[in-house]
């Protein structure tokens, strides 16, 4: 049996462990492949605060320059910021140097196309073909272009949000917000944005020095300090980001995490209430979002997991809001990307206008309970698992566009492999915790039996 590799090359990009699989030679070749893929042009590069970020960035710059493209280095910033700059500067592409919520020893490259969207599977496949063939465009010294270091990219991001939404309406009491930026890229933008909006902020974990004050994934179990801080300060809301500030988690005024899915739910309540239109989410999103869409009489479309799948469907349907159940909020009017900064602004505007607390807002809609689990699973077992599930649940509505989603009388579950880690994820939802856990436990049992 082979050990599970720590290098993941997929349509999400290339991800690996520093000091092990993610070596500078590999990174330079990938950058050359990307440079070759976009022909000569301008590539925007940004990074999160991981300690290996500089090494990775230099390897990438060498590859991009060698293929004849120009580099706009916008430094340390949120991933959505990079996507925004690619679009605003009409660049030919971008590379985000971040391993999102993976632990500190990982890093990764995520490839962005000319519109600011991540490469879709077709485009990523083409780029990978170039990588594997190993024949890259190599220009002579005279054709090598420059690296331009661009300062103030994060200010651009804040300005775009304020231009679109304006500051928070004046209320009798300023909204008090606690922000936990996980020492990630959000540290550089969040406090400033919230201040510009007119909120009162308490910040924790806003030192982007490469340290991880907590596991980066903004799941409920990692938000203990934030919850305590919200209660201690009597805040109206708490926000948590991951390392690259694309995903957003919310903690209510009671100091309780509302669940990753409900970030998008709150944002949708605000957006659909003012500009009704199509909503797009993925197969793993809570049914609560469909309830919100129904209340505002808006159509909802569900896609395969992955930001690029959601954004492509959003473009197709002219959606006004979309995102994923992992806390990713996409509001095309500002940025066609999962954007925690935009998410915070939308949700604060909602709170300010509704004069309802977070808990009250959510109580307007049916409650669901979602359970998410993951198990180690070698990638060669995935097909066996999906076959087993299709057979086991043959009588129920099943959607196999992405893993296996089965709708049950009292809820639903989804089983799928991960693009980013060698694991299999099991997600289940029902109206009560007990039912949700039962659904997941039963499915998990079947999967484990199959894998081992």
């Amino acid at each position: 049996m082979r050990a599970i590799p720590t290098l993941k090359i997929s349509i999400s990009g290339v991800r690996g462990v520093i000091g092990e699989s993610l070596t500078p030679g590999l990174l330079t070749r990938f950058a050359q492949a990307f440079g070759t893929y976009i022909s000569s042009g301008t590539v925007v590069i940004g990074r999160d605060p991981r300690t290996s970020g500089e090494m990775v960035k230099q390897a990438v710059i060498a590859g991009i320059l060698s293929s004849g493209s120009r580099v706009l280095d916008i430094g340390m910033c949120p991933v959505p910021n990079i996507q925004l700059v690619v679009r605003q500067r009409r660049a030919h592409g971008g590379i985000a140097i971040t391993a999102s919520h993976n632990p500190a020893d990982w890093n990764a490259l995520k490839f962005i196309g000319p519109g600011g969207l991540f490469l879709n599977s077709g485009q990523a496949g083409e780029m990978l073909d170039i990588y594997h063939q190993g024949e890259y465009t190599k220009v002579s010294g005279a054709e090598i272009r420059t690296v331009e270091e661009v300062a103030g990219a994060t200010d651009l991001h804040i300005r775009a949000i304020l231009d679109a939404l304006g500051p928070l309406p004046k209320t009798s009491k300023r909204l008090r917000v606690v922000l936990d930026a996980c020492n990630g890229a959000g540290s550089l933008v969040g406090p400033q944005l919230l201040e510009s909006l007119g909120a009162e902020i308490i910040s924790i974990n806003v030192t982007p020095d490469g340290s991880f004050p907590r596991p980066a994934e903004p799941l409920a179990e990692n938000l203990g300090d934030l919850c305590v801080a919200v209660k201690e300060h009597g805040a109206d809301i708490g926000f948590a980001q991951d390392m690259d500030a694309d995903r957003l988690a919310v903690v209510s005024e009671q100091g309780v995490p509302i669940g990753e899915d409900y970030t998008l739910v709150l944002a949708a309540i605000y957006v659909l209430g003012r500009e009704p239109g199509p909503v797009v989410a993925n197969l793993s999103t809570t049914s609560a979002l469909a309830d919100v869409a129904k209340k505002f009489d808006c159509p909802i479309f569900l896609t395969k997991i992955g930001e690029v799948n959601v954004t492509e469907e959003m473009q197709k349907q002219n959606a006004v809001i979309g995102g994923e159940g992992n806390g990713g909020v996409i509001y095309p009017r500002i940025n066609f990307a999962r954007d925690s900064l935009v998410g915070m602004a939308l949700i604060l505007h909602l709170l300010a206008r509704q004069s309802q607390s977070v808990t009250e807002l959510l109580n307007d809609f049916p409650h669901y309970y979602m359970v998410k689990e993951k198990l180690i699973c070698p990638s060669d077992k995935l097909t066996v698992v999906s076959k087993m599930l299709r057979e086991a649940y043959a009588g129920y509505p099943t959607d196999t566009r992405d893993g296996t989603k089965v709708t049950l009388p009292n809820g639903w579950f989804l089983v799928r492999g991960s693009n980013t880690e060698p694991v299999i994820r099991v997600v289940g939802e029902a109206k009560t915790e007990g039912e949700a856990r039962e659904i997941v436990a039963r499915v998990r049992g079947k999967v484990e039996a199959c894998v081992h």
Binding site: P24, A59, A62, G141, I144
Partner: protein
């Protein structure tokens, strides 16, 4: 086959062809591994591919656990001095010296500021070929810092080695052609600090090389014109990274880069007799000059690392090569064109004689050089065939480096270049015609 040279001088090739970013990354990783992490300096010359190679080298070094100090654009000898006072464990110069602008190269320097010797260069190559490099983890990986002032520190060391006041009081007029290379950052400043009126051309580090960055009479036409028009006392021509020096007399006449060492030897040995270290392919004028002052000459293989080793082993008072590279031990044990300038200007300050007179006093020999481009995979077979031809004529030869044959009226030397895919032939005789005959003698015996 496209040219890529890997050897004692490092790795060198054409960007856009063989000198790829992953090659530079791999060599940097190998070097970082060889030095067990530690602090590594980097610098570069003004080639347009410099920034691209610099990024690759930084990535390789950081990934191997090194902390990196970037000196930016500066001459290689400036970096070699900085190794010592920045307490670095080694350094990489990103420069292809005298090669044309398409080329770039990595030159590896160790903790004492000298190039790796041949054994060390082989050890480094073994690591590169094996491909198993040290890998820093996320919690041990270090960062890059930029260091601002290697030039200022270099000038301080230079000032400590020469009679600065004497030079200043002469108020010499000096023309200098920096070839828009790294010396643009150093040479005009150094000359100004010596109280010279400086007529600088091609001192824009952002502009392209105006001519081949190799100081030979063929590339010094513009400099000669400046010397004449400006009534300069002397003219100096630099390569791209500050190792080799070409000289133009006050009459506007360039002299062969071979004679740079001859002139330097005469200047040095008359003040301080001792051993001059040079290579076997340099003019025999050096022996004649040494004889005047009861000095001695040691001959090594071609390549700066050998000169440095010879200097240490034999306590050399001066070192250098027929390429125009000069080593002044009071400054450092490697070639430094700024040090050579100091030596020459010090002499001019102490004598009433102009440069043309100093040159007339040197033994007048004629050297002719000829390079033949050969496919990389045929270089050594061509040399082998020549050796066979020489042996068949029962001639005595020295095979320390290539083949050197002493003939009745002079000598010839044939070797493969360290830096390009070619055979270099040098012939020297008392007069030009004899020298050319010797060259023909060689070419007749070289198969193609």
């Amino acid at each position: 086959m496209k040219p890529l040279k890997i050897g004692i001088t490092g790795v060198r090739g054409i960007v856009g062809e063989t000198f790829t970013p992953e090659l530079a990354v791999g060599f940097a990783q190998a070097f970082g591994t060889y030095l067990d992490g530690g602090r590594i300096l980097i610098c570069r010359d003004t080639r347009p591919s410099g920034p691209m190679i610099r990024s690759a080298v930084i990535a390789g070094l950081l990934s191997a656990g090194c902390d990196v100090v970037d000196l930016g654009v500066c001459p290689t000898p400036s970096m070699q001095l900085a190794v010592k006072w920045l307490e670095a464990d080694g350094a990489i110069a990103i420069t292809a010296g005298h090669n044309p602008w398409r080329w770039n190269a990595l030159k590896f320097v160790r903790g004492d500021g000298l190039y790796l010797n041949s054994t060390q260069a082989e050890e480094l190559l073994d690591i590169f070929h094996q491909g198993e490099f040290a890998k820093a983890t996320w919690d041990t990986i270090k960062q890059v810092i930029n260091y601002e002032n290697p030039i200022g520190e270099h000038i301080k060391v230079l000032q400590g080695a020469f009679a600065v006041e004497a030079i200043r009081s002469r108020g010499l007029v000096v023309a200098v052609d920096c070839c828009n290379g790294a010396c643009s950052m150093l040479s005009p400043l150094w000359l100004e600090s010596l109280g010279c009126t400086v007529l600088a051309v091609n001192n824009d580090p952002t502009a392209a090389f105006p001519h081949q960055p190799e100081p030979r009479p063929e590339t010094m036409a513009q400099l000669c014109a400046v010397v004449k028009a400006g009534h300069a006392d002397v003219g100096f021509a630099h390569d791209a990274d500050g190792e080799r020096l070409g000289i133009v007399t006050e009459l506007g006449e360039p002299f062969s880069e071979e004679m740079t060492l001859a002139l330097a030897s005469d200047i040095r040995l008359r003040e301080q007799s001792g051993t001059v270290v040079t290579n076997i392919s340099t003019t025999s004028a050096i022996e004649r000059i040494a004889a005047r002052y009861a000095g001695s000459v040691v001959r090594t293989r071609v390549g700066q690392a050998y000169i440095s080793e010879g200097m240490i082993e034999h306590n050399g008072v001066l070192g250098g090569e027929g390429s125009g590279g000069i080593t002044v031990p009071e400054v450092h044990l490697t070639h430094d064109s700024a040090a050579a300038i100091g030596l020459l200007l010090e002499r001019l300050a102490r004598t009433r004689e102009p440069v043309s007179e100093l040159v007339k006093q040197l033994p007048q020999l004629t050297i002719v050089k000829h390079n033949i481009a050969v496919e990389p995979n045929r270089l050594y077979s061509v040399l082998q065939d020549f050796r066979t031809a020489v042996e068949q004529e029962r001639l005595v030869y020295d095979s320390l480096d290539g083949l050197k044959v002493t003939l009745p009226n002079g000598w010839i030397h044939v070797r493969a270049s360290n830096t390009e895919s070619m055979i270099r032939i040098i012939a020297e005789a008392e007069d030009a015609q004899d020298a050319r005959h010797l060259l023909d003698w060689v070419r007749d015996r070289l198969s193609r």
